[in-house]
């Protein structure tokens, strides 16, 4: 600043001196004003300028706090994203591990099934039976763990489609009738012609859990499997003449690792996750669950499924009603198997040949084309995932159908995504999830080969 401009001057001083005196006086005034200002700063009072300064200060504090808050929020978001990513990677890891475990397990199951078809000395038959049951347990446990992790991670997408309820219940009745009989129980099944809309695989898990529990906890008497039509949907019922569930425990049994009673024999190897899964699946499908029980008399579990309507173009499938005994169409059927795992290939070959099929196995399309040497097939059985570099099973099937139009295709996949299942259904292919259960494979083959006319 320039304070040097001359103003009033004392008479008795030289011009330079007067100038300096004046400047000195002004600087003193300025210094006094500044000191006064500094000393009055921060004093609470009604001065208007102080109110303005205060408002500026407050606004600045608010701005700073807002920034801090936004930073904290951003950090929270980042932490949440990280946690979600970690959870997702855990789920992916679990899915990958289970996929890798399922492959050899699948092969072992196929070998065992094939071995059971052989006539073996009595002690060996018993051992093979034990191995088979143990493998089945491992498979069930693994499946349960994968399912619960997938349900928790929210990666399981339901694949809702209309289907006749008999297609599910007939198979289950057959399967569990034998299991019940092994425990001295009678399974009473009442069939139904109702059509429902649901995810068949997920609904099957629910009903299987009901049935497994009913058999597990019922010492003597009857198991009931049936349906009741209601305006809101079809109620699938599983009743038993077991000990019943006390009122106060009816909620607890739907939580993880909760099991009732001391009924833990050698065959009972569950984790207590069954009804927890049922609860999650029913919630996801929006199918209400119901439990009625009279202690000492028995329990009745049910799940209510919405009514469905079949598209007019697809006549209801009859194949599901076929019992394992009606497998004569398999005799001599030419079946191509493509799986990049040679273990699975030889397991499949053993199983299929045991059913009288003529199996041709290959680990890739090229391999198959070499081995088939221009011959045709009755069914193509192809794994969806044929290795990192290779085209997937659907692409392979498409190539082979170019050569042989209308070739029935059964796709096998360890990927439980509804998308793949939906895709195969659109293409008119059959689809089986790994691990492949011999009974299901057999029925699927019979279905594809038009077994009901045999």
């Amino acid at each position: 600043m320039d304070l040097s401009r001359p103003r009033q001057t004392p008479d008795d001083a030289g011009p330079r001196e007067r100038e300096l005196l004046e400047e000195n006086a002004r600087l003193r005034r300025i210094a006094t004003a500044l000191m006064e200002r500094v000393e009055s700063a921060g004093v609470a009072g009604g001065a208007p300028y102080a109110a303005f300064e205060h408002a500026v200060l407050l606004a600045e504090q608010v701005r700073e706090r807002t920034e801090t808050l936004q930073r904290t929020l951003a950090e929270l978001h980042a932490a949440k994203a990280e946690a979600e990513a970690a959870n997702l990677s855990k789920t992916r890891f679990l899915a990958a591990v289970s996929h890798d475990l399922l492959q050899p397990l699948n092969a072992a199951r196929l070998f065992t099934s094939a071995l059971e078809e052989h006539s073996l000395p009595e002690p060996s038959t018993r051992l093979v039976g034990h191995i088979g049951r143990s493998l089945k347990d491992v498979e069930a446990l693994l499946g349960t763990l994968v399912d619960i992790s997938r349900l928790d991670a929210g990666v399981l997408e339901p694949d809702i489609a209309p289907f006749p309820i008999a297609r599910l219940l007939d198979v289950l009745a057959e399967e569990y009738r034998q299991m019940a009989a092994a425990r001295g129980l009678e399974l009473h099944y009442v069939g139904s012609g109702a059509v429902v809309a649901s995810d068949l695989a997920l609904l099957a898990r629910v009903v299987r859990n009901f049935l497994t529990n009913a058999i597990r906890y019922t010492a003597r008497g009857k198991i009931l499997l049936g349906c009741r039509r209601r305006p809101e949907g079809v109620e699938i019922l599983v009743g038993d003449s077991g000990p019943g569930i006390p009122e106060e425990q009816r909620e607890a049994i739907f939580q993880e690792f909760q099991r009732l009673g001391g009924n833990r024999d050698a065959e009972d190897r569950g984790l207590g996750l069954g009804l927890a899964i049922v609860d999650r699946i029913a919630g996801m499908l929006d199918h209400p669950l119901r439990l009625a029980s009279v202690p000492g008399r028995g329990s009745l579990f049910s799940v209510r499924v919405p009514h469905g309507r079949l598209p007019v173009t697809s006549p209801p499938s009859q194949a599901t009603a076929i019992s394992p005994g009606l497998g004569s169409v398999l005799e001599g059927a030419r079946i191509w198997v493509i799986d990049n795992d040679p273990g699975i290939c030889s397991g499949m070959a053993a199983l299929l040949e045991g059913w009288g099929c003529r199996a041709l196995t290959a680990t890739s399309l090229a391999d198959l084309e070499g081995k088939a040497a221009g011959a045709g097939a009755d069914v193509l059985l192809v794994d969806f995932h044929l290795g990192e570099e290779a085209p997937d099973g659907l692409a392979v099937a498409e190539r082979l159908r170019e050569r042989q139009p209308g070739l029935p295709v059964l796709v096998i996949t360890a990927n439980h995504d509804a998308a793949i299942k939906g895709l195969t259904r659109q293409l008119g292919y059959g689809c089986l999830l790994k691990p492949v259960k011999p009974l299901r494979l057999r029925m699927a083959l019979v279905d594809l080969l038009g077994g009901d006319s045999a």
Partner: protein
């Protein structure tokens, strides 16, 4: 076929079909005609509130009753100006208004008549009343989705205390506003509420809406080297008697290189002074030169404050950047309510930039007025453009 005969009753269309805000301007000088013209453009079944800015040249009592009659049953608030901002940009001698649709805005309005006695208890009571009133009809959570608009008598010399007190009561509700003007005559400025104009008063309007909004302020002034110390001030009358221990007008004239006689609002606009608080500079605008060689200010002054000489950067570039930022954050604004210091307009006029400025304001959908001071989060500020930008609701899939 649709029946389009004139006697078909007018059925209000679906919500999406109606703009949430309507704007109108009347250049008619007779109050009745102007009020009728505004009502013709703004009135509809769901009109909930009218905000207006008018030239101080209108006969105010007559305008009040004309507005009252034209908008019967709808609350009206506003103030006099030092120039209006219409849909076509800057104007003078007219009245511009905004109609708020009650389906998009819950509005509550209060008048403060005793500015000197406006203490924290009264402020708290006033804000509580406004919030309760809004909450009754709230369209969105009141705490996060409301802002307050303040209109103050620009010659009351009470802005700082009233605003600081009000801001304390408002808490985290953002606020902004402007001081009423009177076309640079510095005689009488008025705010309007409760059906009439008031001097020495303030109007507080609480607006709650689901629409996104942002309260903002901007200026285009940059600090220079020179500093002036206030060595004598009359705080009651907002006068600086001495700068650097010399008569204030003389010292300021020396700073800007002009004779004292040449000091006029255009000069104050081009050569502002500011106080620095922390990193920010706040312009303290000079109102006029007094006969005793002192300078009157539009805001509070104090002995010992240090004023920094400021120089303007391109005004329109700054404003354009601000509007671009708002558009980026809110989407194309449906409306900007702008409180634009009249000194900015003087600067634009002296630079011959009124036409491009009007184009920018019109394009950016600004409705507002030229003020004798602006308000932002409890701060009384000068020579800024301060306001609120209101966005449009993002299109919802089920809408």
């Amino acid at each position: 076929m649709l029946d389009l005969s004139p006697d078909t009753p007018v059925v209000p269309g679906p919500l999406e079909a109606e703009p949430p805000l309507r704007t109108a301007v009347s250049r008619r000088r007779d109050p009745e005609g102007a009020a009728r013209e505004l009502a013709g453009a703004l009135r509809h079944a769901e009109l909930g509130f009218v905000l207006f800015f008018c030239s101080a040249e209108y006969p105010l009592a007559a305008l009040s009753s004309a507005l009252d009659e034209a908008f019967e049953g709808v609350a009206v608030a506003g103030c006099t100006t030092a120039g209006e901002i219409t849909p076509e940009g800057y104007a003078r001698g007219c009245i511009v208004a905004i109609g708020l649709d009650r389906r998009h805005f819950a509005v509550s309005c209060a008048l403060v008549e005793d500015l000197a006695g406006f203490d924290l208890i009264r402020a708290q009571r006033l804000v509580d009343g406004l919030l309760d009133d809004c909450r009754g009809r709230a369209l969105a959570p009141v705490g996060e989705h409301s802002f307050a608009l303040t209109l103050l008598d620009g010659l009351s010399s009470c802005e700082e205390q009233v605003l600081a007190t009000l801001d304390a009561a408002l808490g985290r509700i953002p606020s902004f506003g402007g001081s009423a003007g009177d076309d640079n005559r510095l005689a009488h400025t008025h705010v309007h509420a409760d059906g009439r104009f008031h001097g020495q008063a303030a109007v507080v309007v609480m607006i709650n809406t689901r629409l996104p909004f942002e309260v903002f302020t901007t200026h285009h002034l940059r600090p220079r080297e020179e500093k002036l110390v206030v060595t004598r001030a009359d705080r009651e009358r907002r006068r600086v008697l001495e700068l650097n221990a010399l008569p204030a007008a003389e010292e300021y004239a020396r700073l800007v290189g002009l004779p004292v006689e040449a000091l006029a609002p255009e000069v104050f606009a081009r050569h502002p002074l500011a106080v620095r608080l922390g990193e920010a500079h706040f312009v303290r605008s000079i109102q006029r030169v007094n006969d005793d060689g002192s300078l009157s200010f539009y805001c509070a002054v104090e002995n010992g404050i240090v004023l920094t000489a400021m120089q303007p950067a391109p005004l329109l570039e700054d404003l354009e950047a601000v509007f671009a930022g708002l558009t980026a954050r809110l989407g194309e604004p449906a409306l900007v309510i702008g409180c634009d210091c009249f000194l900015r307009r003087l600067e634009l006029e002296s630079l011959g930039l009124v036409t491009p400025a009007s184009r920018l304001l019109g394009r950016s959908r600004v409705i507002g007025f030229n003020t004798y001071g602006e308000q932002h989060h409890g701060m009384h500020i000068n020579q800024t453009f301060t306001g609120v930008a209101i966005g449009s609701l993002p299109a919802t899939p089920d809408a």
